[in-house]
């Protein structure tokens, strides 16, 4: 019965392989081959290291110790009905096989048995049945398939052996004959079963790394499963389909390999990992979360930068008209003297204003260059795409974070246990950092102990509540006050705008008040927040929210001022436009009058002298760029003075000062998380708003973020001290993302408003000459796309269609939302509530079973004993050790078996395993070591409960 033999082969081979585990795998194989060739059979196989024993085996052959295997053998034999002719041939084989098997069993003791047990019974039967058939197929498959390199080799090995064997035994039949015969005999049901099993094995391969097994055991199982899959997978297709199937499988494997490599590559590409880790190890994860946020922003801005430069700036530079060719690309005559002055350039006037950085520079030519690149369209699309992309990224990141931070929900439930079990960061590889970590862990322990004591004291909750309400009231008052102040100042500045006899203060009043508010309010809020006495993490959020509200006031006053400016510019532009049109008309009238030539040539005026409008878009762009640049300057200077200079003074003046500067008043600065995060968020808002009017702004921002990463990393490491209370940032920094989303939305509004309602300037920018900016799209539809698409679009823009579409979307959102809730509920029910309930159910009644503790103790040394038994090779020992370690305490055992995790599925964990939480369950004879098979007797205790 060659089928059976094959199974055994596998097992035996496994064992042999194990016994020499890591080394000499190759040796053995060549060894095998030699032997196989010499003796014309597979007998020596799998026993490479024990050549002496082989001879015995062969002699044994015919007195096959069938007894042991008998029971197993019967099944396959029966199943094989309808192939009698083959059976006869096989029965000759049968004896040797069994003989070998028996011998092997004897020799290997429990091990072979063991791995047999691992196979499900059904699998065994099938395998036994199938095994022999596979000769030819195997060869084919193992050639085509990439398995584990080892496994593959071995597979071939086996094939060779098997073939030889066959030739010897029934030399009349040629191999190919036998094979084809067998193929046909595979019925549908068998096929299905086989398929099922292959799937099962595949699953095992996929999940093998999720099992807390020893590497050896994993390797054994992996090899076994992979061999099996390799062998049988190819058999699933029929006839010619088989090759195609094998090819498909191969491609799938290659694809998996490729995607994994790609994933690795991607993770390797994440920059600044070490830097952030370093900061984290010194300052805790809350400070690191700022840097992670900064890095994320950098990534997003890099993409925006790619869009803007790749699709707008570079095409205009390469293919557009050069500087000086048309008025919009030329500095006007009046400004040319001062256009290169430093102060002018710093204000982004002069050459800066008429450069690629700003909206006004772009020409309204519909297509440019040889490629007929539609620049105006591309400009608009990039402007909208920037928002689209940012929205997508922010929202998807939020969703991902929400997914990851699932554990955040029941915060506080396990504060102590988490501090205990999860606070050590195993990545710490530096003794200094480790010392810091020790200190911070100790502090956090002490802190939570104190907290707990306070909680137990049941302090005056009414007072606390009153204080919190009071604090919020005060902060609301100050916010309202600052709002009113800004409103008042803006009003006044509008009055001032009409006068020109202004003092310096009156000119800069608005900016001054704003900066003052920004300087005074945050510390004020912080002081007031002391009253509330929140946990620092929650306090940080409150602080962020409050400063955010304050900044929002700033931002919107700025915007309103800007809109005023734009409106006056628009009026001015209207006048200039009329004037220039009129002048043009006069000129042409005169021209035709004198020369009587209908051939209209433009007036021969150098582009610098042409009358031009104020170009409000560029003005807006300049405002935003100025703001961004001044923001960069201010924040860098603050770091330099507020942190660095302070640190230097404290450090060196401390030697000759009357009090301890380091511990006393000025001390070193702490890293201001809330301020920095908000700065970053608002800066991003500026970029989003300004990018449409100043494409160069994105580039500036990328530079800023890049330099800021290095600069701030250096500053924080060199000049700051860790917060007094080091606290963990919640892993899902969705709060930052939420702020960012809000800002994104707020900055989306004015840009979309201007695009949709304001007419673009008549003489500058890519949209000049059109009544509205979005007319570019209409133009494209009309001119470039086939006519029916135009009508299609006009239908699609019909409110009759839009309203149902919006309704549909709302319904879809509602549906998805409720579906998700449902899913969440179910998940929670299954894995948290049920888990707890199950644990309780399992554990509580067992309290009564705890009474007789005697039987638990003695088996333990016993299991150790087996472990130390010298010479007993790999698997048996391993298995036992796993068992011993996993279930030394029967009392603790029950729930583990119940848990749905993959752990329960280990080999040797027969169906009887999980059942008996009673004492004496896994022990006694069941633990035994004999060839009877360890792990076998496990279910034998008294029935559960």
């Amino acid at each position: 019965m060659p089928r059976k033999k094959d199974t055994d082969d596998i097992n035996i081979e496994m064992d042999a392989d194990e016994s020499e585990s890591d080394d000499g795998g190759n040796n053995k194989r060549t060894n095998n081959r030699r032997q196989g060739a010499g003796r014309g059979g597979a007998r020596g196989r799998g026993r490479g290291k024990k050549p002496t024993s082989e001879d015995e085996d062969e002699e044994d052959e015919d007195e096959a110790p069938r007894g042991r295997r008998g029971a197993n053998k019967k099944k396959p034999v029966k199943k094989r009905g309808g192939r009698n002719a083959k059976d006869d041939d096989d029965s000759e084989d049968e004896a040797p096989k069994k003989g070998r098997k028996g011998a092997a069993n004897k020799k290997k003791g429990g091990k072979a048995q063991d791995s047999d047990d691992d196979d499900s019974d059904a699998g065994k039967g099938k395998k036994g049945k199938r095994g022999g058939k596979k000769g030819g197929k195997d060869e084919e498959d193992s050639k085509g398939k990439k398995g584990d390199a080892k496994g593959k080799d071995k597979g071939k090995d086996k094939d060779n052996d098997k073939k030889k064997k066959k030739k010897k035994d029934d030399s009349s039949d040629s191999d190919s004959n036998t094979n084809s015969e067998e193929e046909e005999s595979m019925s549908e049901g068998e096929m299905a079963r086989l398929m099922e099993e292959v799937e099962e094995k595949k699953k095992l391969i996929a999940t093998i790394r999720n099992k807390p097994w020893r590497m050896k055991r994993r390797l054994v199982h992996l090899k076994e499963a992979q061999e099996f899959v390799d062998k049988f997978e190819g058999a699933l297709g029929k006839g010619k389909g088989r090759k195609w199937y094998a090819y498909k499988v191969m491609m799938k494997k290659k694809w998996i390999k490729f995607s994994r490599d790609f994933e690795n590559f991607r993770t390797a590409c994440i920059p600044w990992e070490r830097k952030i880790k370093e900061v984290e190890s010194h300052f805790g994860s809350s400070v690191a979360s700022y840097f992670i946020f900064l890095r994320w922003m950098y990534g997003m801005n890099l993409v925006l930068f790619g869009f803007t430069f790749g699709l707008v700036v570079i095409p205009e530079v390469l293919m557009g008209l050069p500087y000086g060719s048309i008025p919009r690309k030329t500095v006007p005559r009046a400004d040319q003297d001062t256009a290169q002055d430093y102060s002018v350039l710093m204000d982004f006037q002069g050459y800066c204003k008429y450069s690629i950085m700003f909206y006004g520079y772009y020409n309204n030519q519909r297509t440019i260059g040889l490629l007929k690149f539609r620049l105006p369209l591309s400009y608009l699309m990039v402007g909208i795409g920037t928002f689209g992309y940012s929205l997508m990224v922010v929202i998807s990141t939020m969703a991902k974070n929400a997914d990851v931070g699932g554990g955040d929900g029941d915060e506080g439930e396990f504060t102590f246990a988490w501090k205990m079990f999860t606070s050590w960061d195993y990545l710490i590889g530096n003794s200094e950092t480790a010392d810091n970590k020790y200190a911070s862990i100790t502090t956090s322990f002490k802190e939570s102990i104190v907290d707990e004591q306070e909680n137990q004291k049941d302090e005056n909750i009414h007072l606390r509540r009153f204080l919190r309400v009071l604090a919020n009231l005060m902060i609301l008052c100050s916010l309202g006050g600052s709002g009113y102040l800004i409103y008042f100042v803006v009003k006044r500045s509008q009055e001032f705008a009409n006068r020109d006899d202004l003092s310096w203060y009156e000119k800069n009043e608005l900016e001054l008040i704003m900066s003052l508010l920004g300087l005074v309010c945050p510390p004020l809020f912080e002081t007031i927040a002391e009253l509330e006495d929140y946990h620092p993490r929650i306090a940080l959020k409150w602080q962020l929210g409050r400063i955010f509200a304050l900044f929002l006031g700033n931002l919107y006053t700025f915007l309103f001022a800007l809109f005023d400016e734009v409106n006056t510019k628009l009026e001015e532009e209207g006048a200039i436009r009329n004037a220039s049109l009129w002048a043009m008309k006069e000129y042409y009238a005169n021209y035709t009058l004198f020369l009587n030539n209908s051939n209209l040539t433009p007036p021969p005026m150098p582009p610098a002298d042409v009358i031009r409008g104020p170009c409000w878009e560029t003005a807006v762009g300049i405002e935003f760029v100025k703001l961004t640049v001044s923001d960069i300057q201010v924040s860098y200077l603050t770091i330099l003075i507020g942190d660095f200079a302070r640190a230097v003074i404290v450090r060196f003046l401390n030697y000759c000062w009357c009090w301890d500067l380091e511990a006393g008043f000025p001390s070193y600065g702490e890293f201001d998380i809330s301020g920095n995060v908000l700065g970053l968020v608002f800066n991003q808002g500026m970029i989003w708003m300004g990018a449409f009017y100043a494409p160069g702004l994105v580039g500036i921002n990328v530079l800023r973020l890049l330099s800021s990463m290095y600069y701030q990393c250096w500053a924080v490491m060199a000049t700051n001290v860790p917060h007094e209370r080091v606290f963990k940032a919640s892993k899902s920094n969705n709060f930052y993302m939420g702020l960012l989303l809000l800002i994104l939305f707020l900055s989306l509004l004015p840009v979309v408003f201007t695009i949709m309602t304001l007419p673009p300037s008549f003489d500058c920018g890519p949209f000049s000459g059109k009544p509205y900016m979005f007319d570019v799209i209409m133009e494209t539809i009309d001119l470039d796309l086939p006519a029916f698409l135009g009508t299609l679009f006009s239908y699609a823009a019909n409110p009759g269609l839009i309203i149902p579409a919006v309704l549909l979307m709302v319904l879809a959102i509602y549906y998805l939302n409720s579906a998700r809730d449902e899913e969440k509920n179910r998940r929670n029910n299954t894995d948290s509530t049920n888990q707890v309930m199950k644990d309780l159910e399992d554990l509580l009644p067992k309290g009564s079973l705890m009474a007789p503790p005697e039987p638990e103790k003695p088996p333990e040394p016993e299991s150790r004993l087996t472990k130390t038994k010298p010479g007993s090779a790999g698997k048996g020992v391993n298995l036992q050790k796993d068992v011993a370690l996993a279930s030394p305490n029967p009392n603790a055992r029950g729930p583990v078996n119940r848990s749905p995790g993959p752990r329960g599925a280990g080999p040797g964990q027969g169906p009887g395993r999980g059942q008996g939480p009673g004492p004496g369950r896994g022990q006694g004879p069941g633990r035994g070591q004999g060839p009877g098979g360890p792990g076998r007797g496990r279910g034998r205790g008294p029935p559960p409960r």
Binding site: D22, D23, G24, D148, R209, N210, P212, R214, M215, K216, R260, D261, N264, S285, V404, G405, G407, D408, E413, F414, F416, A417, W418, M420, F421, T422, S423, W424, D425, Y426, L427, I428, G429, A434, D435, Y438, A439, I441, T442, F445, S448, I449, Q453, K728, K731, S832, D839, G847, K867, N878, L885, A886, P888, N889, N891, A892, P895, V896, G901, R903
Partner: protein
């Protein structure tokens, strides 16, 4: 297995053979004693280094020596791709100082001492220690038997937001 797997395997093997002495390299199945394993910078400042070696060692003499396979076991448990299930399983065994399958008061006390470092000024007072252990048992000991067993441990750990990300060692 993919190429990247082999690359990792090679680097792991390289690191491992660096720990072997000349003559040991020729022997098959060589076991690196714990002292030399602990010189790896990745483990040097870990308070649980000895426990880690002991847990992953298959040595018969319980000396914490690691063979290459044990070493691979260790790395795979601490790798990125290991699941919460595996990580918590090994974390439990690392924390289970007396190898008895439960975290009892003694284990917890040793654990706290490991976490707070060797120096006296970071040590907790006995009173604090008692309180801390009581609190932990109160939180995580569901069946109230005075010890934390594996399933209780996994129950607690699985809800922690950052266990998986911190239970990691990268060569």
């Amino acid at each position: 297995m993919s190429m990247s797997f082999f690359i990792h395997l090679f680097s792991a093997h390289k690191r491992f053979t660096e720990l072997l002495t000349k003559d040991e390299k020729d022997l098959p199945n060589n076991r690196v004693p714990m002292e030399r394993i602990l010189t790896l910078p990745e483990l040097k400042s870990n308070p649980f280094r000895k426990r880690i070696c002991n847990v992953f060692s298959t040595s018969e003499y319980k000396d914490g020596g690691l063979t290459f396979e044990d070493f691979l076991d260790l790395l795979s448990a601490f790798s990125d791709s290991a699941t919460l299930e595996i990580k918590s399983h090994y974390a439990f065994r690392i924390f289970d100082f007396d190898d008895d399958g439960t975290l009892d008061c003694g284990d917890l006390e040793k654990l706290v001492n490991c976490l707070t470092g060797e120096t006296d000024d970071t040590r907790l007072t006995p009173e604090e220690m008692r309180q801390l252990i009581n609190n932990i048992l109160e939180e995580s000991d569901i069946d109230k038997d005075g010890t934390v067993n594996l399933s209780e441990f996994q129950h607690v750990i699985s809800r922690s937001p950052d266990f998986v990300s911190s239970f990691k060692i990268v060569l």
